[in-house]
């Protein structure tokens, strides 16, 4: 009965969303306060109902109710409890329900925290949110019902895709969706603003926390996904330019651009129509990612539920959301009042440069991802676009972005001088050049680009810290006075410093791992030793191990350095019995400066086992840096000025005059 309750709750949620998506819009257009007051109540009700449906599905998974088709297809009674729970969203239907859940929770959050918003804006935002919800709920109910029953119920299920039975991936989708769906709020704000015909500083101040929150979650989600690919796929890399990865990177790039352009709207009342466009695009790119992953239009290592019928639905939905948004944009955006004027060389100018470069990056990724599809359709030629394309296009634009990144914060609003800003950065520049030279001559003579990129990583860290030091007048004022200034620095600025410096760590990790890793693939018999990157690795033995729902071969690799024991690695190759699928379980020894990474491949006692060894310098910095980057976002989010609901009505009126 519980699955039916979930199903009915979902149907009711759709009905509520229909009401919430229509009546408040009329109310806002007519100025009818009673209709507008419907929106927050409906949003809360809708969230309650979707939570109920989600819990019902979760109950079916936890209790292994094999009369539910979705549970049969994706769960198994022998699975650990954690993966029974995460199995809920480890499949197409459940992940769509998770998407709807997060969407409705965001809607409820706007209803709760948006009490300070003008009534018409709030009801419009909530109505747009609800219309997006209608799309998703109808999609779930009509094409991907997770509550469909199966009669007769089989005795046991097929189990979850073994690749997904991993703590890293268990929480990757929720974080990613928090990011994707978070952009739905900014989208709703953008559409509401176009309907109202007004974009002002107050609007930007309301939008920024939502953008920032979505961006933080998306950052974490992407980092977690990349970390998962690093240790579970066993290829030693962390980013493969796979269409699914690109699908998450595009909204991130657009969201990052939005984050920065919204600052200009807030502080200077300029760049309005551009910011609105970015808000529409960030969410559209999230939807595009969903479409690409689930429609089967592109191939990817992440085989998801690929179904042309669903693809067509998502395409129509994408067209409705993006097309509707962009049509409204084409109609209304030309009418937005242009705001504050500024010289090209100014903080505004720097942020525009930032936006141009970030959007070029997003367009590059979009082109690289879709080019094989376009070419195949037009000429029948099959190509695959991979790292060489992105190294040649993405990386140079990134370097330009990094070069400007440290300079921008030194420039003042309206008009600025370049030389004083650069003078503040001369130490950072010197350190970066030295780092690049050291990298070029001491580490790697063959790859100049890597050395240059390494120098840029150092530049980002030192340059960002130089900005903080200048702000605190470190060394010019007594230390105590500088610390007092630090305490008084707005959290938004501290957050910026953290995130910008963290980006430097990501760059250093990515460059070092990508360009300077060592790799060895060798067949070893027990007792044999191989020298690798200054270590001696001995395959001591390979044992059979029994896991909860798998059997595994586990190799014991003794690693010594200069005769002294360094570590023992235990890579496994797991065979998941139910799905007859093998998964490599990488063994990684890390000291935060380098990863020593081993995977166990095919083999037997007679011929030996294939062992892959990697020595990845600075690899942990990639994910620690990304986490730090998100942390910077959260610190900024805690800024009082940005706290949701902080802008008072009085200030709104002033800004909207």
């Amino acid at each position: 009965m519980i699955p039916e309750l979930g199903h009915f709750a979902l149907i009711l949620a759709l009905c509520v969303a229909l009401v919430q998506g229509t009546l408040p819009l009329f109310g806002a257009a007519r100025g009818d306060a009673r209709l507008m007051a419907l929106a927050p109540t409906a949003a809360l009700t809708q969230a309650f109902l979707v939570i109920l449906a989600f819990l019902a599905l979760m109950q079916a998974y936890v209790a292994s109710d094999f009369s539910v088709a979705n549970v049969v297809a994706n769960s198994h009674s022998a699975k650990p409890l954690l993966y029974k729970i995460t199995g809920v969203w480890g499949n197409h239907e459940g992940s769509m329900l998770l998407w709807a859940l997060i969407l409705s929770i965001f809607g409820a959050a706007v209803a709760i925290f948006g009490a300070e918003l003008p009534d018409s804006l709030r009801s419009r935002v909530l109505a747009i949110q609800a219309l997006i919800g209608v799309g998703f709920l109808a999609f779930i109910l009509f094409t991907s019902n997770p509550f469909a029953r199966l009669a007769p119920a089989p005795p046991d299920g097929n189990g979850l895709n073994p690749l997904l039975q991993d703590p890293g991936l268990a929480f990757h989708p929720p974080l990613l969706y928090l990011g994707y769906v978070g952009f739905s709020v900014t989208y709703a704000f953008a559409i509401a603003a176009l309907l109202e015909g007004r974009v002002d500083a107050a609007w930007a101040r309301w939008v920024r926390p939502w953008t920032l929150a979505a961006w933080c979650f998306l950052t974490l989600g992407i980092a977690l996904g990349s970390w998962w690919a690093y240790y579970i796929l066993g290829w030693g890399g962390f980013w493969f330019w796979d269409p699914v990865e690109n699908a998450s990177l595009m909204p991130w790039l657009a969201g990052t651009a939005l984050l920065h352009s919204a600052i200009v709207v807030e502080k200077r009342d300029a760049l309005k129509s551009w910011t609105v466009l970015l808000a529409i695009l960030a969410f559209s790119l999230s939807l595009l990612g969903t479409f690409l992953v689930r429609s089967g239009v592109l191939t990817s290592v992440h085989a998801f539920a690929q179904d042309p019928a669903r693809g067509l639905y998502i395409l129509c939905f994408l067209l409705a959301v993006t097309g509707g948004g962009l049509t409204l944009y084409a109609l209304r955006a030309p009418g937005l009042q242009p705001g504050g004027l500024f010289q090209p060389l100014s903080r505004e100018g720097a942020l525009i440069l930032n936006n141009l470069l970030l959007c070029t990056l997003a367009a590059t990724v979009l082109l690289g991802t879709l080019y094989p599809l376009f070419l195949d359709l037009l000429t029948g030629n099959k190509v695959s676009v991979g790292p060489p394309f992105f190294n040649a296009t993405f990386v140079p634009i990134c370097l330009a972005l990094f070069a400007a990144l440290c300079v921008g914060p030194f420039l003042g609003w309206k008009r600025a001088e370049l030389w004083p800003a650069l003078a503040h950065l001369r130490i950072a520049f010197a350190v970066a050049v030295v780092a690049a030279l050291v990298a070029a001559f001491a580490i790697d003579q063959s790859s100049t680009l890597a050395a240059v990129a390494f120098g840029f990583g150092v530049w980002l860290i030192v340059g960002t810290l130089a900005e903080l030091a200048t702000r605190l007048r470190l060394g010019r004022l007594p230390l105590r006075e500088s610390l007092r200034r630090l305490r008084n620095t707005p959290r938004a600025s501290i957050g910026m410093t953290i995130s910008h410096a963290a980006l430097g760590f990501v760059v250093l990790g990515a460059v070092a791992t990508g360009a300077w890793h060592a790799e060895l693939i060798r067949t070893l018999k027990p007792g044999e030793t191989v020298s690798f990157a200054g270590y001696d690795v001995t395959l001591q033995r390979v044992d059979n191990v029994q896991g909860a729902n798998y059997v595994a071969e586990r190799a014991t690799l003794a690693v010594t350095r200069g005769g002294k024991p360094f570590t023992t690695l235990l890579p496994e190759r797991r065979l998941f019995v139910v799905q007859r699928r093998q998964v490599a379980e990488t063994a990684i020894q890390t000291n935060l400066l380098r990863d020593f990474y081993a995977t166990l491949g095919e083999g037997d006692a007679n011929t030996g086992w294939t062992i892959r060894l990697y020595d990845n310098p600075l690899a942990p910095w990639i994910w620690l840096g990304a986490a730090l980057c998100a942390l910077g976002g959260f610190v900024s989010l805690s800024d009082r000025r940005l706290r949701i609901g902080a802008p008072t009505r009085r200030r709104t009126v002033q800004a909207a005059e």
């Binding site: 395409l315 084409a330 879709l370």
Partner: protein, 180 residues
């Protein structure tokens, strides 16, 4: 007016992209299908010994006869080759097709014995023991079949065994001069 158009640009871009997506979905395209690098180009160089000792080696001259030619990579150890073998016999007997067989990573005696036992559909057969010719032709395994037109241009490339439908849909029309 031009300013208005600028604001329409995102929408137009979307329309273009959506058109491609809809096209891709509606024709039921399989993105996992691997294309061929040789189709539409001159036949890759060929210079291999004949399967029958004492016969002249096989060279590019075979593609300069002005007639369409089929090139079939096969091996006696390959079961799908056995499955498509009767089709080649029929092509030879009924359509008078010129088929060049290339025994790929196959011992000479075994390949000859295989042809003797089943019948020889090939006008000439060559031996590619090391698989070098296969490399030039972009072979991923046996059986694979290429159709080369009278001008020496590769027109069709089949991975895996030919089936009845391939014959009626493309191979026989190709032999009759309908270049795909």
């Amino acid at each position: 007016m031009s300013r208005r158009l600028l604001y329409l640009l995102p929408l137009l871009t979307l329309a273009l992209m959506a058109g491609f997506f809809a096209w891709s979905l509606l024709i039921g395209r399989d993105p996992a299908a691997i294309g061929s690098v040789v189709v539409g180009r001159p036949a890759p160089p060929l210079n291999i010994p004949a399967l029958q000792e004492g016969q002249a080696p096989l060279t590019d001259a075979l593609f300069k006869s002005g007639k369409p030619v089929l090139v079939n990579f096969f091996a006696s150890w390959c079961a799908p080759c056995l499955a498509e073998h009767p089709l080649f016999m029929r092509l030879k007997e009924r359509e008078g097709a010129i088929v060049i067989g290339i025994a790929w990573k196959n011992k000479r005696d075994e390949a000859l014995a295989w042809l003797k036992r089943l019948g020889n559909p090939f006008q000439t057969a060559g031996l590619d023991l090391e698989g070098k010719a296969g490399l030039d032709w972009g072979l991923s395994g046996v059986p694979e079949t290429y159709a080369v037109d009278g001008n020496g241009i590769v027109r069709l490339h089949f991975r895996g065994p030919l089936i009845e439908r391939d014959l009626t849909d493309s191979v026989i029309p190709f032999l009759k001069g309908n270049t795909p």
